[in-house]
């Protein structure tokens, strides 16, 4: 199912040398980065990063370890202040904003090393994600005004609705820290979705998942995109997932983009094969035999 969905999309060129899905062409891109870069005391961790994402695009960010993929996520969410370039979220400049404001504007993320509120229940984790969606003041909370009860009820219903995406409603009262690894990753995605993002950043969502779970995750990512109409940018080392669902892939090496394109283009790009993907075993074997 996932395979079919992706091959339906045709990528069309966008003015600044990027590609967006054909269906997103008329709409304003959700994310535009131009010449984005950050230096840590002379070390150029990310340099001249350009990307355009359509409002319903699934993009992939791949590259060897230390290439600067997570740093880009940290730049997009303003954990780091970029030293060069600009980030536009639906045309709005994110440069002067803080992490919290960026989240309110519509960028949500998950983390490579899972960051859940481990001592709280699964439902409470999602409710914290709903923080800015269903507000309720401190005083109505302390004085238990009717506003408190209606907000609590709304939060509960919304949290359950979100948890049902991953069939996790049965785990609502379990402590987040005692969940298995795969479920923790899914919960983190739910928590990010609870903040009603326009762009969802997933940092290695399939890490530590078995092939079956990864398969399910792929379907769920596409379902989330279709249901919430959001753009998703993901970092992943599992090539099956990346090639299976990403419409547009960006390959990084040493902080620079070395290739951009559709999965087919990336798979056949000699630069990418050299830097990251490696040769397929049969090819490599054949070469060895030739040498021998």
């Amino acid at each position: 199912m996932s395979e079919r969905k992706r091959t339906e999309t045709r990528m069309v060129p966008y003015p600044s040398g990027s590609f967006v899905p054909e269906r997103d062409l008329g709409a304003q891109p959700v994310l535009e980065c131009s010449h984005l870069g950050i230096e840590f005391g002379g070390l150029k961790a990310v340099e001249d990063f350009n990307i355009v994402m359509g409002p319903t695009e699934i993009g992939g960010l791949i590259g060897p370890n230390g290439a600067g993929k997570t740093t880009i996520f940290n730049l997009l969410t303003k954990v780091y202040q970029p030293t060069h370039g600009s980030i536009l979220l639906q045309g709005r400049d994110l440069n002067p904003l803080t992490t919290v404001e960026v989240n309110r504007l519509g960028i949500a993320r998950t983390f490579q090393n899972i960051r859940l509120f481990t001592n709280m229940t699964v439902e409470e984790n999602v409710r914290i994600g709903l923080h800015n969606q269903i507000p309720c003041g401190m005083f109505s909370g302390i004085l238990r005004l009717p506003a408190y009860f209606s907000a609590e009820k709304k939060q509960h219903e919304k949290a359950m609705e979100l948890l049902s995406i991953f069939d996790m409603t049965g785990l609502a009262d379990v402590k987040a820290g005692s969940l298995p690894y795969g479920a923790q990753r899914r919960l983190e995605i739910v928590r990010a979705l609870a903040t009603a993002p326009k762009l969802l950043l997933l940092d290695e969502p399939a890490a530590g998942m078995n092939p079956h779970e990864t398969e399910e995750l792929m379907e769920n990512i596409i379902r989330i995109r279709d249901q919430f109409r959001i753009a998703i940018l993901l970092i992943e080392h599992d090539m099956k997932l990346v090639m299976g669902i990403c419409e547009d892939i960006c390959v990084l090496n040493f902080g620079r983009i070395i290739a951009k394109g559709t999965p087919e283009q990336i798979q056949n790009n000699p630069v990418v094969i050299e830097a990251y993907l490696g040769k397929q075993r049969s090819e490599a074997g054949a070469e060895k035999e030739e040498k021998a």
Binding site: T77, V79, T98, T99, V100, N103, R104, A108, R109, F111, R115, L116, F117, T118, N119, M120, T121, E123, E124, R127, I128, G129, H131, N132, I134, P135, C136, G137, M138, G141, I142, L143, R144, Y148, A151, E152, Q155, A172, D173, S178, R191, A192, A194, T195
Partner: protein, 348 residues
């Protein structure tokens, strides 16, 4: 189901306080010793102080060592207010005067807490603890510079200048004298119930979850759009206000009180109550404070060893409480233990 169990747990906490109140009220009419009677209001004050400190230390996760400073602000504001109100409106109901004094102490301390919170909450961990310790001492020293006097029903105040007209009520480092001892046990219990209600309701609300999220994982909390400074401030200011109210009640229980009472020792003592009762555990805090406040009186002969015993107990609780071997042992001998999750899963 989860929320129901929390609700029941909170009811038990309120129930324990009300039961203790009933027992003590009955006992007071039937031969409670006068030394114990004199301790009832201070116990209530320390319970409220410990609950409020547990909000900062346990729920918000910031180690504050200056809680006695907030208590001092509340105490002097409360005592001056009650003295002045009685002088100005002699006809007023005494409980109303006490309520006004306690509320006034709370509001003043709330403002002070907000002012102190702005610089202090920029720090984290050990640095925050050190700075709160310093602020506790700074508050105490600043309070030594104030002078208040009553001329008939008019209140005069000055900073650093003892030459003000009328009868001196608050004389700098000499402290306050002639307080009308309005506090009584029932008021103390009411204040405990109020503090418990504020803290427990806050914890189980959207704001409380945001405070705990900030404590558990700062980066994740920011990533879901929680304004960290706002919620740390909320916990800190609420905690300060409750401490101020407890201080006001405390001051109204004594004829005279000096600022030297509110030194680091008092701050540490409140922290000991919180740690012994369980960090983040309000019911435990109430029980531990009561017992630890009574113990030195019951063991009066060993009173000089009190701080020594505190230190040893504190270390034992911190070291043994986290020992997995002892935890397992406790799990096995505890008759009220909850079944282990793993075991429950295996049964399925």
């Amino acid at each position: 189901m989860k929320r129901n169990s929390k609700f029941v747990s909170n009811l038990i906490t309120y129930g324990i306080v009300i039961a203790a109140w009933l027992i003590c009220s009955f006992w007071m009419g039937n031969g409670m010793s006068s030394s114990l009677k004199a301790m009832l209001v201070p116990i209530c004050c320390y319970v409220v102080l410990a609950i409020s400190l547990n909000l900062t230390v346990g729920i918000s996760g910031e180690l504050s060592l200056g809680h006695a400073g907030f208590m001092a602000i509340g105490a002097f504001t409360g005592a001056i207010l009650s003295t002045w109100i009685i002088a100005a409106f002699p006809e007023m109901n005494k409980d109303l005067v006490l309520t006004l004094a306690v509320v006034g102490g709370g509001v003043t301390t709330m403002i002070a807490g907000a002012l102190i919170g702005i610089p202090v909450l920029r720090l984290r961990g050990d640095y925050l603890a050190i700075v709160t310790l310093a602020f506790g001492e700074i508050i105490r020293n600043i309070l030594n510079m104030f002078y208040f006097s009553l001329d008939g029903s008019r209140l005069f105040g000055s900073f650093g200048n003892p030459n003000i007209p009328g009868k001196m009520i608050y004389n700098g480092a000499m402290g306050i004298k002639g307080v009308k001892m309005l506090a009584h046990f029932n008021a103390g219990v009411l204040l405990i119930l109020f503090a418990l209600a504020v803290v427990l309701n806050l914890i189980n609300s959207r704001s409380g979850r945001a405070i705990m999220a900030t404590r558990d994982n700062r980066i994740a909390a920011e990533s879901v759009g929680i304004n960290i400074t706002k919620y740390k401030m909320m916990a800190f200011v609420t905690s300060a206000a409750l401490a101020g109210m407890a201080g006001a009640l405390y001051a109204n229980n004594f004829y005279s009180i000096q600022s030297s009472k509110f030194n680091v020792d008092t701050s540490i003592q409140i922290l000991v109550f919180v740690v012994m009762g369980g960090i983040g555990n309000m019911r435990g805090t109430v029980i531990a404070t009561t017992l630890l406040y009574l113990l030195p009186e019951l063991l009066r002969d060993f009173s000089q060893y009190r701080m020594l015993i505190y230190a040893i107990m504190l270390i034992l609780v911190m070291v043994l409480g986290n020992n997995p071997l002892l935890r397992n042992l406790w799990m096995n001998i505890n008759p009220f233990r909850k079944p282990l999750k793993r075991r429950a899963k295996a049964d399925e």
